[in-house]
């Protein structure tokens, strides 16, 4: 067995040429994933990447682990079956906004409610890239694309709210260019026992360039992003203008930090479902007046893990009925013999 601690990130790269467009946000995500792999404490042969269809779904070809590039939208279903029979494996689902929120939406919500111990990396670029630029279920209202020349009339999904609505036990948001933040999130997702959904804002520089620029550009990012840190107040903004969030009557407000009493500050607690819900609603389109977009781990909850419950049922069935014998199965309850 090749023990993981002897491996380096490059040991997780394959001999296949990476074929994403130059400048694609996927490169950074691939690099961060490869770089945390040796730190998981899982032997390489026990790691499986399952993807659907879309640009991001080529990912497994570039990971020197077990992997499957499957069909559109179904990675969550395939990974579910795999994890049910092999809970010893570390399973990573690679998917996009079209793959998991449009054609595969059903599988995503059901995986979240069942809570198998797998990690979902949802590359959200708010566009269909592989099919060359149609709007996706996360594209902003009114977006002009090849398939919406008059602008979309589709209200977009809010992935965080959708996940929490489906009782996800872990939700985090990352950004392709925030390499350190992304690595931290990935490690926490791996450590979480249950389904971890990590939404990653990923720039498609060909069909939707700059979709997340307000959150990555130096000039705007401090005032537009909120970095969630456990036990810390929700503070954002520039050195000159520190702003803090507070909650009053179940609504979120922001005010200059120095105007808020310390006991009124909103302290981040990822175990609190109501606060997570409020965080998920910080989703207004970017503007200078909008509340900031949160990044980091929104919510994390320990609850029953599907494959473990399945195992328990198998064990208790054996305890109460004994290990099944094929001969007794064949003969059934009522049988007779003819000489």
């Amino acid at each position: 067995m090749e023990t993981a601690d002897l491996l380096k990130p490059k040991d997780f790269a394959t001999d296949q040429d990476v074929r994403w467009c130059p400048g694609c946000g996927d490169y950074s995500i691939l690099k961060q994933v490869q770089s945390i792999m040796p730190n998981l404490g899982v032997p390489r042969e026990n790691i499986v990447f399952i993807s659907g269809i879309g640009c991001s779904s080529r990912f497994p070809y570039y990971m020197n682990t077990y992997g499957m590039h499957s069909i559109h939208g179904r990675a969550a279903a395939i990974a579910s079956g795999l994890k049910m029979v092999r809970k010893d494996l570390s399973v990573w689902i690679i998917t996009g906004d079209g793959d998991s929120l449009s054609i595969g939406g059903n599988h995503l919500i059901h995986l979240l409610r069942r809570n198998l111990d797998v990690n979902i990396l949802l590359f959200n670029n708010e566009i269909y890239g592989l099919t060359k630029g149609q709007f996706s279920p996360t594209s902003e209202l009114g977006k002009n694309t090849k398939s919406s020349p008059w602008g979309t009339i589709d209200h977009p999904f809010n992935p965080a709210a959708l996940a929490l609505g489906a009782d996800a036990s872990f939700f985090a948001r990352g950004l392709d260019l925030d390499t350190k933040g992304l690595r931290d999130i990935l490690l926490r997702a791996h450590a979480h026992k249950g389904t971890s959904l990590v939404e990653i804002y990923q720039n498609c520089n060909v069909f939707n360039d700059g979709a997340f620029a307000p959150y990555s550009n130096k000039s705007t990012r401090e005032s537009s992003t909120l970095l969630l840190e456990e036990g810390q107040p929700l503070i954002y903004g520039t050195e000159q203008q520190r702003e803090a969030l507070y909650i009053r009557d179940m609504k979120v407000y922001s005010a200059p930090l120095n105007t808020i009493a310390s006991e009124d500050l909103w302290i981040h607690d990822s175990k609190d479902p109501m606060k997570a819900h409020l965080l998920s609603r910080l989703f207004d389109p970017y503007s200078e007046k909008a509340l900031p977009r949160p990044f980091g781990v929104f919510y994390q909850e320990e609850r029953l893990v599907y494959e473990e419950e399945m195992d328990k049922q198998l064990h208790s069935a054996v305890q109460s009925k004994g290990v099944g014998k094929i001969d007794s199965l064949l003969q059934g309850k009522n049988f007779w013999t003819i000489e």
Binding site: E45, R74, I78, S80, L82, M84, L330, N334, T337
Partner: protein, 610 residues
């Protein structure tokens, strides 16, 4: 007077809420234990509680049992049990001339006539008498209430036991023991002593009623059939499939993983397997049909024996993932318990109209082996065989059953576990570098299981490079891979038993070819025609794709080939296309199985024309 007869056909019919399925099932089990050969056919509405008392709400259970070989649930009925007017209206046409009607006369009042869509002034039972039927009318509802008047049960609860009266009465009429049903009741109502007592009392009351009241001029005995020696049980098709899958997983030393989504008439496989957790069976009720096959593909990749089942509409949804499994070349068993189509069609009725779907229904060049079960007990052997082919040849396999054999039952001489063959998964050698799409002499790739160090590999639905499995868009490679995958499936023909003639002459004038659940009706028709000196043979195809290699030889030995099918002609088109012969279709598309007399009649008509 006690009269010994060779065989009898009884049809239990009543409202959906009258418990006729249970009554029929109990009678079948007892008859099987009694030693009869038998075949059953439950026929019920799609609605759980169809409008009470109406013809649409009638539920029927037909059983044909005998001391002779029984291959079908029978043709015309000897004894019709009619619990209400609607039941008689629906099934009187199926009675033999002079057949017997045992009627619950309380179910023929004005209200029931009205619900059956008839004029309230009609006297159906007198009309039936005048038509020459032997009508035995008994106030079953009233007598049941009478028997239970001190039980403390509500009238509604009392009425629910009336099927036990009927069962007891029919047990008496056909000289059956009531003990097996008493045992059944004991188990069913273990925690409800008042219901146990009530049902037991009513069952005995029905039996004693037959004994005491001189309503019947005859009582019938159907002796044991001379079946080959061995141990037997009564079995329905879906149950046999479940047992076959579990047995195959044991013989392959693989864990069984089953993913399904509720659908009629396949759900019983899910129920059965969900209750077999102590055999290590992992069953998963998925969010939809696509998720079910997706999860099965994932479990197969992970090294389990993976199975999913559905019926036509669900199989349509699974089609894309089936193509993926084909492309991955990973073992998977997909069961289609066919029902009347297209679209939602006739959920509780039987049909064989998904053969084209099974053989051709995918995008791209994606040949998948297809095998079909011919009877309830045959579902065991075919399920086992589907697993063997899937595992040993690294391919998805489609198993076709249908609603008729899924719910029907017959005695099964079950094997011993030690008699079952071993199944050998094709694992790669550990010491050599792993090439996922390297093929052995049968064209089969090997199955590396995640967790095996040094064998890490990626696979997917994109075209793959030969040997390595890396993505490849090379024109030459694509053609090579398409042909390699097809050759691998064709090669399976070298690993299945040769085709045999089921009965009749090995060569001659007429050959009837069947597949699937028409087996019993065709066999009965052919044996009967042979008795009359008509030269007809029967060939039954289990392996529908690829065909057994010697199939063509048999076809060339006959002048006329007739292919009866419960569809608009599917196998017939495949046979015509493949062998360029003038095979003749014989079709029934009514949601009902063939009667052997229908086949016989059609063949005789055909012979006149020739």
């Amino acid at each position: 007077m006690n009269q010994t007869i060779e065989k009898a056909t009884v049809l239990f019919a009543g409202d959906s809420g009258d418990g006729m399925q249970l009554t029929g099932f109990q009678f079948s089990n007892t008859s099987a234990l009694h030693g009869n050969d038998l075949s059953t056919f439950p026929d019920f509405p799609a609605e759980i509680r169809a409008p009470i008392g109406t013809i649409a709400g009638v539920s029927g259970f037909k059983i044909n049992f005998g001391s002779v070989e029984i291959n079908t649930p029978g043709g015309k009925v000897d004894t019709l049990v009619a619990m209400n007017a609607a039941a008689l209206v629906k099934f009187q046409v199926d009675l033999k001339a002079n057949g017997m009607i045992i009627a619950n006369s309380n179910g023929f009042d004005k209200r029931n006539l009205r619900l059956a869509g008839l004029d309230e002034s009609r006297d159906l039972l007198s009309e039936a008498r005048d038509a020459g039927f032997l009508v035995v009318d008994i106030e079953i509802s009233k007598l049941t209430r009478e028997a239970l008047k001190d039980s403390g049960l509500s009238t509604k609860e009392q009425d629910r036991s009336k099927n036990m009266f009927t069962l007891g009465l029919i047990y008496w009429l056909y000289n059956r023991e009531i003990e097996p049903s008493l045992l059944f009741l004991k188990e069913k109502f273990r925690s409800k002593p008042d219901l146990l007592n009530a049902n037991t009392l009513v069952l005995k009351t029905g039996y004693h009623f037959g004994e005491t009241i001189e309503l019947f001029s005859n009582r019938y005995t159907v002796n044991k059939a001379s079946l080959p020696s061995g141990s037997y049980r009564n079995i329905a098709g879906n149950e046999a499939i479940a047992i076959g899958l579990i047995s195959a997983s044991a013989q392959a030393h693989l864990d069984l993983y089953y993913a399904g989504y509720p659908i009629t008439p396949a759900s019983d496989i899910l129920h059965e397997l969900s209750n077999r957790k102590n055999f290590g069976v992992r069953s998963f009720q998925a969010e939809d049909e696509i998720a079910a096959i997706g999860a099965a593909v994932g479990a197969s990749f992970a090294g389990s024996l993976a199975v999913t089942a559905s019926s036509g509409p669900g199989i349509a949804l699974k089609t894309e993932a089936l193509g993926l499994a084909f492309m991955l070349e990973t073992p998977l068993v997909v069961i289609n318990v066919q029902r009347g189509g297209p679209s939602t069609g006739l959920p509780t009725k039987t049909e064989q109209s998904d053969l084209f779907q099974a053989i051709y229904g995918r995008n791209g060049e994606a040949p998948i082996p297809v095998i079909a079960a011919r009877s309830p007990k045959d579902c065991f052997a075919v399920a086992f065989e589907a697993c063997r082919i899937a595992i040993e040849h690294m391919t998805p396999v489609i198993l076709l059953s249908d609603g008729y054999i899924a719910n029907g039952s017959e005695p099964w001489r079950f094997p011993k576990a030690s008699d079952l063959p071993s199944i050998h998964p094709n694992y790669p050698k550990l010491d050599a570098p792993y090439l996922p799409y390297q093929r052995d002499e049968r064209g089969v790739r090997s199955w590396a299981i995640p967790g095996t160090a040094g064998h890490e590999y990626r696979l997917g639905g994109l075209e793959k490079q030969d040997q390595t499995g890396n993505v490849s868009y090379e024109p030459e490679n694509h053609q090579k891979m398409v042909l390699s995958r097809a050759a691998k499936v064709d090669e399976i023909a070298n690993h299945i038993p040769p085709q045999e003639i089921d009965c009749g002459p090995l060569e001659g004038d007429v050959l009837l070819i069947g597949w699937g659940s028409t087996y019993g009706a065709i066999r009965t028709a052919v044996l009967n025609m042979n008795k009359q000196g008509i030269s007809v043979a029967h060939l039954h195809i289990r392996y529908l794709f690829p065909f057994p290699k010697n199939l063509e030889t048999h076809l060339r030995n006959f002048k006329t080939i007739i292919i009866p099918e419960l569809n608009n002609g599917q196998l017939v088109k495949i046979i015509r296309e493949k062998f360029l012969i003038n095979a003749i279709p014989l079709n029934k598309i009514k949601g009902l199985p063939f009667l052997s007399s229908e086949i016989e009649h059609a063949v005789l008509e055909r012979l006149k024309e020739l």
